[in-house]
């Protein structure tokens, strides 16, 4: 598979993820969208890495995996607290601070 195609897929994935963060109201879906963006990044790194027969990019991907897992764990912990308070996971319940 040529590099260009892989990169285009990565870019599309990234845009889809970003769009998800922007428009989805459920915070779990928003976190999933961020995961999607990170996966797009991973794809890009891996594609470059394969093209150039280099390991650095793959190391980076492993790191991103780990950090993404941590982020989700923390995110879920905070969301649980939020659900306890608000009984909702929608972005729309967050308007107490503004202006």
């Amino acid at each position: 598979m040529p590099l260009d195609h892989l990169l285009i897929v990565a870019f599309v994935l990234f845009v889809v993820g970003a769009a998800g963060v922007m428009v989805r109201r459920n915070l779990i879906v928003v976190l999933m969208s961020i995961e999607l963006m990170l996966n797009a990044v991973n794809l890009a790194f891996v594609s470059f890495s394969r093209q150039m027969v280099d390991h650095d990019g793959q190391v980076m991907v492993l790191m991103i995996f780990v950090v993404a897992a941590v982020e989700v764990a923390i995110g879920m912990a905070i969301l649980v607290n939020m659900y306890r308070q608000k009984r909702s996971l929608s972005v729309d319940v967050f308007h107490s601070m503004r202006g």
């Binding site: 990169l7 990565a10 990234f14 993820g17 970003a18 963060v21 915070l27 928003v30 976190l31 961020i34 963006m37 990170l38 797009a40 990044v41 890009a44 790194f45 594609s47 470059f48 890495s49 093209q51 150039m52 027969v53 280099d54 650095d56 990019g57 190391v59 980076m60 790191m63 991103i64 950090v67 941590v70 982020e71 923390i74 995110g75 905070i78 969301l79 607290n81 939020m82 308070q85 608000k86 967050f94 107490s96 601070m97 503004r98 202006g99």
Partner: protein, 499 residues
């Protein structure tokens, strides 16, 4: 297999990490919730351990590392302990130690376990230290996350309070979003380095060399990669329009940790901006015009929005955005003098802002955060020393000579003029004149309004907060008046960056 494993360069980081782990363990063992009758208060132990960790790590830097002979980079270039990074580590450690001192009484008054919070501060600090030492995308990214994730937790620390959780969620979502953007930029730059530079690597220095060498014909994707990385960092320094999280997070997050976030995160972001985009690289990537716009926009948004706030924390949040704008002016100017100015500014902002937060922490009581301007009314007469600290902090942040804040601005603006950014400097001067208006408000509230209600009784003096206020106000005066004594440090730090 890398052959240069110089762990000795990493001693400050290891000390901080080690004390973080110890604090966490001790907290679990010693029932961090409060003292049992007849026993020593375990919270004293964890606080002492955390602060000592920071102080030892900080002391190690000038004592040993600053003048160390031999190589300053380690782990195959992943970790760089040059004087530039050492300076910022010092700033970060000072900010962390002061915030720890502040947080203790605040946490106790709310009967919160202090061990976990202290451990989080220490973990975040170690992340910042790795980040400013990063010579590679991997370390940069890992440092960034080790910094960010504990900070998200700190924002959401009051998990039964709406606003705190809201702050945590917002920070987490937007922070992760910004990280993803930055990582995509790194992926593009990695690809560029491999395809054009010949040697595929995630290290930063070869990448910079390749970019500079091909300055004439940079493909769009390389420039876009640079832009995405820049945006990730601009988010952390809260530059407009990537600043939207800042006021909400600052307002919701617990007071002492806002102090930590505002000073340490911003200093770290400034350091990384300088390391990655310092010098002519910005112009090579064609990002200087864009940074001009962002800096101008940031100063305007930060200062003007700060004018209309009624919440002191929110006002300080917007003003911190504005300070980010001034730092960007220095980054944009890019000359050695401007970079020294940024270092100076980071230090000035740290002590000034921590002093302001220290006063707010001092005036807060359980169930009553000193947040509104009206909460400060008339307290200057009752606590002249505390009021004096606030005045010093505000004057320094505004930039009145001879306080340290003035020189930060002065050096940056002068360097910017020298580099031909006259319009931006005039805008910066005008907006900092605007900042007078809102920085005077706490002073007016403290000294020029009658006290409201009598429930604001005499607040018992907390020694740790008092120590924090004393140290910061001393620093505000002394660093301004005797700036010459340490400017040599700044210059050598900047020289390290230049290579």
């Amino acid at each position: 297999m890398p052959t240069d494993l110089h762990f000795s360069l990493m001693i400050p980081e290891l000390v901080v990490l080690g004390s973080a782990v110890l604090v966490l363990l001790l907290d679990a063992v010693l029932h961090g919730g409060g003292p049992r009758p007849g026993e020593e208060d375990p919270r004293d132990t964890t606080l002492a351990l955390s602060v000592v960790g920071c102080v030892v790590a900080a002391a190690w830097i000038p004592a040993v590392l600053w003048n160390i002979e031999g190589p300053r980079s380690s782990f195959n270039g992943l970790f760089v302990a040059d004087r530039f990074s050492l300076f910022f580590k010092l700033v970060v450690l000072v900010g962390a130690a002061l915030s720890l001192l502040l947080s203790d009484s605040w946490l106790r008054r709310r009967r919160l376990s202090s061990g976990a919070a202290h451990a989080l501060v220490l973990f975040a600090t170690s992340g910042m230290m790795y980040m400013v030492s990063a010579g590679d995308m991997v370390t940069l990214f890992l440092g960034l996350e080790v910094m960010s994730i504990p900070v998200y937790c700190l924002a959401a620390l009051l998990r039964w309070e709406d606003r705190s959780v809201e702050a945590g969620v917002k920070y987490l979502v937007l922070g992760a979003f910004a990280t993803a953007i930055m990582l995509f930029g790194f992926a593009l730059l990695y690809g560029y380095q491999g395809l054009v530079g010949g040697v595929a690597t995630t290290q930063l220095e070869p990448l910079q060399t390749t970019l500079m060498a091909n300055a004439e014909a940079l493909p769009l994707y390389a420039r876009a990669g640079g832009l995405l990385v820049l945006i990730g960092l601009l988010f952390k320094i809260s530059a407009a329009p990537f600043h939207m999280w800042t006021p909400d997070v600052y307002e919701g997050a617990p007071l002492p940790f806002v102090a930590f976030m505002s000073v340490a995160v911003k200093a770290t972001a400034a350091a990384v901006l300088l390391r990655v985009f310092g010098g002519p690289l910005l112009a090579v990537l064609g990002l200087d015009g864009m940074l001009w716009v962002v800096a101008a926009f940031t100063m305007v948004v930060g200062n003007f929005m700060a004018l209309v706030q009624d919440n002191v924390k929110r006002m300080l949040a917007y003003s911190s955005i504005a300070h980010g704008g001034y730092i960007l002016v220095g980054v944009l100017a890019g000359s050695a003098e401007a970079q020294a100015g940024v270092l100076y500014y980071a230090l000035a902002y740290t002590v000034g802002n921590v002093a302001a937060f220290a006063v707010l922490v001092y005036l807060s009581r359980q169930g009553h955060e000193a947040e509104r301007f009206s909460d400060l009314q008339g307290l200057g007469a009752r606590h002249p020393l505390v009021g004096g600290v606030m005045v010093l902090a505000m004057l320094s942040l505004t930039g009145i000579p001879p306080l340290v804040g003035f020189f930060g601005k002065f050096v940056i603006f002068k360097a910017a003029v020298a580099q031909g950014y006259v319009g931006l400097t005039i805008l910066a001067l005008l907006t900092s004149a605007v900042s007078f208006a809102y920085y005077l408000r706490p002073v007016i509230a403290l000294f020029m309004r009658p006290t409201v209600g009598c429930e604001v009784a005499v607040i018992p003096v907390n020694r740790r907060v008092a120590l924090c206020m004393g140290l910061t106000s001393l620093a505000i005066c002394a660093l301004g008046v005797f700036s010459e004594s340490y400017l040599g440090w700044l210059s050598s730090a900047v020289l390290a960056l230049a290579g």
